[in-house]
């Protein structure tokens, strides 16, 4: 690994990954790509920042066959997916699916890129009472047409990358990560837990799993080193019931009949501009869905090690 291209580099995860890569002497260059005009964080001689509109194929081509070739980038970490669940339309799809497809296909033709790591989400898995509460990589995908575009796009992008495994001259790794409750990361749970009172469905208290930024970065670093390719679940260290997550966050949880929650949170979203959509989370607020990380442990050597900083989250 000499040069790494990171898309979505200005998100909390992207920034942490860039910082972590720069701490490694073996990395000659980090090419950070995002939509912001300038790199908003600390500078480094080995860090190259570029604002790129990834919805345009020409821009991706210029990126990969221009500066990325000059820097001899050999690994790509693609994590630039749209984060706001309320947005929809062709522009959103172009970023979520189109850019992923282009990044992958152009990386296959690239003279120096040898590895493609796609950061996917646990949202791609279907959660319902018929499916296992502990989710393996073979778990059914969420292909329901009633899901918002954000989820459908994430599934399509994930499957697009998976179809090239073993076919492309690249090492392809897909990391299906548990939710990272962090601001500006598109986390539904983060938005849900911002209110002092959190409503949850009466009679249900499913197990949820959340991932820390530190573990997410570590999993990505391990994926950049591995010789294996495949799909890997990346669970977090925190596995707990929803009610206890609410309490640990310092919020008051109130259980109300499930059918009321959709209208209540739709009203909240309409009046306060919040991102949490109950309909998107209905299944996982009723039925447990915890990622099984055994494959990542056995092949990547990944074991969740960092809990969320609950006291800090409570204080925030």
């Amino acid at each position: 690994m000499t040069g790494v291209l990171v898309t979505g580099a200005t998100t909390p995860l992207g920034r942490a990954l860039v910082r972590s890569l720069l701490e490694e002497d073996a990395v000659d260059a980090v090419l950070a790509v995002a939509a912001e005009e300038k790199w908003p964080f600390e500078e480094d001689a080995r860090l190259h920042y570029l604002r790129v509109d990834l919805t345009r194929e020409r821009k991706i081509r210029d990126l990969l066959f221009g500066i990325a070739r000059d820097l001899e980038i050999d690994s790509v970490v693609h994590s630039a997916l749209h984060r706001d669940v309320r947005d929809h339309g062709p522009g959103v799809r172009a970023l979520n699916v189109g850019s992923t497809r282009q990044m992958l296909f152009l990386s296959e033709q690239h003279p120096t890129i040898r590895r493609f790591v796609f950061r996917s989400y646990a949202d791609v898995y279907a959660i319902d009472p018929e499916t296992p509460a502990v989710i393996g990589e073979e778990h059914p995908l969420e292909l329901s047409s009633t899901m918002p575009q954000l989820v459908r796009d994430r599934v399509e992008a994930d499957v697009t990358v998976c179809t090239r495994m073993g076919m492309a001259p690249l090492h392809i790794v897909v990391l299906r990560c548990a939710e990272v409750p962090a601001p500006n990361s598109g986390s539904q749970l983060w938005d849900y837990l911002q209110e002092p009172v959190c409503f949850r469905p009466l009679g249900y208290d499913p197990m949820i799993n959340v991932l820390s930024i530190e573990d997410s970065v570590r999993a990505t670093r391990l994926a950049l080193r591995t010789e294996a390719q495949g799909v890997f679940n990346i669970p977090g260290k925190d596995v707990l019931p929803l009610s206890e997550a609410i309490a640990a966050w310092g919020r008051r949880g109130i259980a109300v009949p499930g059918p009321l929650l959709g209208p209540m949170y739709a009203l909240r979203a309409a009046t306060r501009g919040s991102q949490f959509l109950y309909d998107l989370n209905r299944a996982r607020f009723h039925f447990s869905g915890v990622l099984d990380g055994r494959r990542a442990r056995e092949v990547l050597g990944y074991e969740p090690a960092h809990s969320l900083d609950w006291p800090a989250l409570r204080a925030a």
Partner: protein, 281 residues
């Protein structure tokens, strides 16, 4: 300590003898980090479950346990009992029986029907005391982790078998046999005597499908009858010594293996029926 386990612990303290509580503190379980395992089990809730069942077990049904030494003290194990009683009261009595007669106590991980996670309150309670939804991935994982599974091989239909069919086993499904062969887990044939008379089903309302339930059972009496329950455990059947794991996919093998287990349970039932002095005695 957060609210729910604290409440569970307080109630369990009121319901259980201190010695029993102390014993349950030695429970073997795998903490996923916040006092729960991956499936939602919590030891305080296990104690609460034991506390709730205790009056039924000790006083109402006066359960007598036979040969519990046949339950392996560790490692992946499948307990395969007969099933009856309109509601799974037999399962709750077996739950406490296994907890009491294994040392250190092993939590029986009951494999429930897939409609159970849809039931409000019950789904949460079941997962906290260790029950899991019956799907292959989950039970395989539990066996890999050396847990003790309780699988009713007759399936949900048996719980509402007509009174005239009591103690006649429905044909065993093959899932437990396949798991036992594949994961090299011993199967402990188990007979619950008395449960098939405790609460006969009068009829069932097939059109009742709330929360995914297959039907609504209507029992013949308003409350279960105080039958004397006997639980018998046979010596483990070692299916994996007869077949290799790669034979677990062969339907003839799994059918034959399930039949062996069914025969063992039927023999145990016949023995238990011969030995008891009466339904209520």
């Amino acid at each position: 300590m957060l609210a729910a386990p604290r409440i569970a612990r307080t109630v369990a303290r009121a319901l259980l003898h201190p010695r029993e509580l102390e014993r349950l503190r030695t429970l073997r379980w795998s903490d996923a980090g916040h006092g729960y395992d991956l499936m939602g089990l919590n030891p305080d809730w296990v104690a609460l479950g034991a506390g709730i069942v205790r009056p039924l077990y000790d006083v109402y049904f006066r359960v007598t346990s036979h040969d519990a030494k046949n339950i392996p003290p560790s490692g992946g194990t499948i307990v395969a009992p007969n099933h009856s009683g309109t509601l799974p009261i037999d399962a709750s009595l077996l739950y406490l029986d296994v907890l009491r007669h294994t040392s250190p106590p092993r939590v029986p991980r009951f494999v429930a029907d897939t409609f159970v996670p849809q039931l409000p309150f019950i789904s949460t309670f079941f997962s906290r005391v260790g029950a899991v939804s019956g799907n292959r991935t989950t039970v395989r994982r539990l066996l890999d982790e050396g847990e003790l599974l309780v699988i009713f091989p007759e399936g949900t239909p048996a719980i509402n078998k007509p009174f005239r069919e009591r103690y006649r086993l429905y044909p065993f499904r093959v899932g437990h046999a396949e798991l036992a062969i594949r994961h090299r887990a011993p199967v402990v044939p188990t007979a619950i005597i008395g449960a098939e008379e405790m609460w006969p089903t009068l009829t069932r309302i097939e059109r009742f499908r709330a929360f995914g339930a297959p039907y609504l059972p209507v029992p013949a009496s308003p409350v279960p009858l105080p039958a004397h329950i006997h639980v018998y455990y046979s010596e483990p059947v070692l299916l994996h010594e007869r077949w290799t794991p790669d034979q677990a996919d062969d339907p003839r093998v799994t059918r034959e293996a399930a039949r062996l287990v069914q025969d063992a349970v039927q023999r145990l039932i016949d023995h238990g029926l011969r030995d008891r002095e009466g339904v209520f005695a």
